[in-house]
């Protein structure tokens, strides 16, 4: 029998309670969670967060650069939307496997990051660009009239006013990445999907399914909530908007 930790374990002691959870497979046993938190659940959660933060940060940097380019130069928008839309519609599992085929990526964290980043681009690019374009012309005129340079206008007028739309985009992108990162174990990259797949192949071990699945759900909800708080703090004038 292979336990979720990956170690082959012999279960001899029928009287012992240590493994009764695995043997009887009840809906949930707290005992298993506390025993495996340090070795299974916490590393998976940490890795999941690391994957997500890196992907959103890189995606945000690329999208911001592209959106600023498209904001200044009109014709940039169309090709960017076409490429990112194509990336966005490739089924995630297929994209992971497709990227593994690229020689310098292979089964690595880099492959997972490339896939995750490619799913953030469309959402972030669209939201940042829309946010910038929705800045009222009068406000821009006023800024120009006050003698602001293009750079000052961007940092002190346009970006702050675009903030609600940008944060709305970050919310959706982050939640999407958290969801997609659960399938990273397909290419041998650890995430909260690792304990989920381990539990599925371990005779549908329920405690682990619920614990790891629940952690992924809570992580997504927590990230979503965190962005709402950030927005209230940074852009108190704007109500949370839905796209």
């Amino acid at each position: 029998m292979i336990l979720a930790t990956g170690k082959a374990v012999v279960i001899p002691n029928f009287g012992g309670s240590a493994y009764s959870c695995e043997r009887h497979n009840p809906l949930f046993c707290v005992d298993w969670v506390s025993r495996n938190w340090d070795t299974v659940l916490w590393p998976a959660l940490r890795q999941h967060i690391v994957l997500t933060v890196i992907a959103v940060a890189i995606g945000f940097a690329i999208s911001t650069a592209l959106a600023l380019a498209a904001y200044r130069v009109g014709w940039v928008e169309r090709p960017v939307v076409v490429v990112t839309l194509v990336l966005y519609t490739i089924p995630s599992i297929a994209l992971f496997e497709l990227l593994v085929g690229i020689p310098w990526l292979g089964l690595s964290t880099a492959t997972a990051e490339v896939a995750l980043v490619s799913y953030t681009l469309l959402i972030l690019f669209r939201n940042i660009l829309t946010g910038l374009r929705e800045v009222p012309e009068e406000v821009r005129d006023a800024a120009r009239g006050m003698g602001m340079s293009a750079r000052q206008m961007l940092w002190r007028v346009e970006l702050p006013l675009a903030l609600p739309a940008i944060i709305a985009g970050l919310r959706i992108a982050t939640v999407t990445v958290i969801s997609l990162a659960t399938i990273a174990p397909l290419i041998s990259v650890e995430s909260l999907g690792t304990p989920i797949f381990a539990a599925i192949s371990n005779n549908l071990f329920k405690t682990e399914l619920i614990a790891a699945g629940g952690m992924a759900v809570l992580l997504a909800v927590a990230a979503d909530g965190a962005f709402v708080l950030v927005q209230r703090r940074l852009a108190p004038w704007a109500r949370v908007r839905v796209r």
């Binding site: 809906l27 949930f28 519609t89 490739i90 089924p91 995630s92 599992i93 297929a94 496997e97 497709l98 085929g101 919310r171 959706i172 939640v175 958290i178 969801s179 997609l180 659960t182 399938i183 397909l186 909260l192 999907g193 989920i196 797949f197 539990a199 599925i200 549908l204 329920k206 399914l209 619920i210 790891a212 699945g213 629940g214 952690m215 992924a216 759900v217 997504a220 909800v221 990230a223 979503d224 949370v240 839905v242």
Partner: protein
């Protein structure tokens, strides 16, 4: 790039791999994907459209329709399936549950916004003509809201079709996910071929719903 050529050859061979024992037909798996998706979209629509329309009609519950919708959308599908397996076991039921969870938020949000934004004067005029609340919903608000309601359905449908492939990861077979999740047997060209079929199916479902929207809109407008 040869993988792309191989993908189309794979589709042309109806999902068979030369030298391998007979595999499930690609047409069969595509129809299986369509079936799983259609059930999910139908259940989600049946739950979400009435909810969104009702909330929109009473102009209340924007918090539920919009914020809970957002929160709900945050749920990772694989995690939902994992939790559902613990309760329901492997099978169609928990795949559908995950798909419905995925599809409900965009449908509710759009239906709510669509009905909520119908001009108040029109509703007041209908009420003045002696229409009952049900008649107002049925004959004034819904016809005017058809485009946005369908926008929600179409968004949800594309999401659902793309997500059916995840069901294979949990051991439920009969969809194109079987191919995408089995690179060992099908090789990269097969995986790509199946991905192309999923994308094609998503576009086809989207087009079918767009057609349904076109058919429904003018007739409904005539009722007014």
């Amino acid at each position: 790039m040869s993988a792309f050529g191989g993908a189309f050859t794979f589709i042309g061979r109806d999902g068979q791999v030369p030298g391998a024992p007979p595999l499930p037909s690609l047409v069969h798996l595509t129809l299986g994907t369509l079936e799983v998706s259609a059930i999910g979209i139908a259940i989600a629509g049946a739950l979400a459209i009435p909810l969104g329309v009702w909330l929109g009609h009473i102009h209340r519950g924007s918090f539920i329709a919009i914020n809970i919708g957002n929160l709900w959308r945050a749920l990772p599908s694989l995690a939902v399936i994992a939790i559902a397996i613990a309760f329901l076991g492997i099978g169609l039921a928990n795949v559908e549950l995950a798909l419905v969870v995925l599809a409900v938020p965009p449908i509710v949000t759009n239906a709510y916004v669509a009905i909520d934004r119908v001009e108040r004067e029109l509703v007041d005029a209908a009420r003045g003509m002696g229409m009952s609340e049900w008649q107002i919903v049925r004959r004034v608000e819904i016809p005017l809201a058809v485009p946005l309601i369908f926008a929600g359905l179409r968004t949800a449908a594309v999401l659902v079709v793309a997500t059916t492939t995840i069901s294979a990861l949990t051991g439920y077979s009969g969809t194109l996910g079987d191919i995408i999740n089995n690179e060992t047997s099908y090789h990269l060209s097969g995986v790509l071929g199946a991905a192309i079929c999923v994308a094609g199916l998503a576009l086809a479902v989207e087009a079918a719903l767009a057609g349904a929207q076109r058919v429904l809109t003018p007739r409904a407008m005539r009722l007014r």
